[in-house]
Amino acid sequence: MNCDEAEILIHALLDGELDASHAREVEAHIAQCPHCAAELKTFRKMHEAIAKADLRYTAPPALRRRIEAALPKPQVGTSRRAVLRGFAMGSAMSALAATGLVAIVLRNDDEQLIEQQIVSSHLRSLQPGHLIDVVSSDQHTVKPWFNGRLDVSPPVIDLTSQGFALVGGRLDYLDARGIGAVVYKRRAHVINLFVEQTGNAAHVSATTNMVQGFNIRAWSERGMRFWAVSDIGADELAEFGEKFETALQANKEG
């Protein structure tokens, strides 16, 4: 083997692409050619430096949601599915029109979009180191922590004695706005309670939906919108929501 061949093949050696006999040939050349040996060493060093630096990008959550929303999915409501089916089947429809339609589908379904974001936030929070910004089982520690970080700090209520342990709080984002998340645990299961201020003081009773296998219980109370999300069953999540609402009523300090 000469240096011209080796110049290409050292890369295949480095990348583990050579079979055993070719690998031996390249190694034999390197053993008696200091130039090619130095080349391999340099490229290996560069390869390692590249592997060490994280050069990948992560797709923005909004992009993931847009793509998810464009895929037909069986569990969504009839009207929306009909729209998507129309999109999928319209054989004359170009990609151009489809792109516009995706935006329309998203825009018409704010609550579903928000619930998908809630689930995404919940999933993100379950990754190591993401769950809690302030760790405390004391509501008088968690509540002041939110002050100054949010315009309106969420009510923090300790439900530990009622089977839902307060474990901390987190600043999260919903629809590109800062939002408070209060974190509870039921046995090993995490419950994220997202709280957003709304201009509307009306009471809206709770509804429960399942999104991507997670239960979301949403309700409005005292000018706030609440979403409790967890992988616990709908009945347990309802129990959580009811206990929280009862405690909120009793605890005017909120």
Binding site: E7, L71, A103
Partner: protein, 207 residues
């Protein structure tokens, strides 16, 4: 509610409009929920990979998002005819077509990105040969991700693409060949050249 969406959608239109000519008719069997589920399971896990390649190829985050979305819509359309071999190179091949349409769109705009070297010329130029100094001079020092990305961004096409597919997207030579539609031998020489160019830039950066 979504500031900026209308702009992004507008851009996606521009990409799609140029790409539309070669788009195949939308398959009528998309209503099959099983197909949607299979597509989801097969293609969505690679979203970060596809987005990563788009970022390197287009250099612009918003354009990359549009291209990835377009790529997935097209992939869904053609999923019926997908027979393998592997999902990742297949998605990359679709993304490349979308990006090519975007390049074409940019070329018609006065404020296009810094121009890439013309493909053929770069590929036929002789291999880099200036490094006959002592091997000790060739030591590569570690660099942070921002610096390395900048160095990679400066590589000319098609070397950058081959390099990103190998070093960042972790494709095998065979898979790269499938994704870019070139023989494995071409992939190997492009990769060797990409690394030689990157090394020169890397060492110059250390000066």
């Amino acid at each position: 509610m979504w500031p900026g969406r209308s702009i992004r959608t507008g851009r996606a239109r521009a990409v799609s409009a140029t790409a539309g000519q070669q788009a195949m008719p939308i398959s009528g069997s998309n209503e099959d929920p099983d197909k949607a589920r299979r597509f989801r399971e097969a293609a969505l896990p690679y979203l970060d990979d596809v987005y990563t390649l788009a970022r390197y190829l287009l250099r612009d985050p918003a354009d990359a998002e549009d291209a990835v979305q377009d790529c997935y819509l097209r992939a869904l359309k053609h999923f019926d005819s997908y027979r393998g071999p592997a999902m990742k190179p297949w998605l990359f091949a679709i993304l490349r077509n979308v990006c090519r349409a975007e390049y074409a769109r940019r070329a018609t705009q006065p404020s296009a990105l810094p121009e890439d070297a013309p493909e053929g010329a770069a590929e036929q130029a002789p291999m880099w040969r200036e490094e006959q100094q002592t091997p000790e001079a060739e030591m590569i020092r570690e660099r942070d991700a921002v610096t390395i990305r900048r160095l990679i961004d400066k590589l000319a096409e098609p070397f950058k693409e081959t390099f990103v597919l190998r070093e960042i997207n972790n494709l095998s030579y065979r898979e790269i060949a499938d994704a870019v539609g070139a023989p494995v031998g071409t992939v190997m020489s492009r990769l060797a050249r990409a690394r030689a160019m990157l090394r020169s830039a890397w060492l110059a950066e250390q000066e």
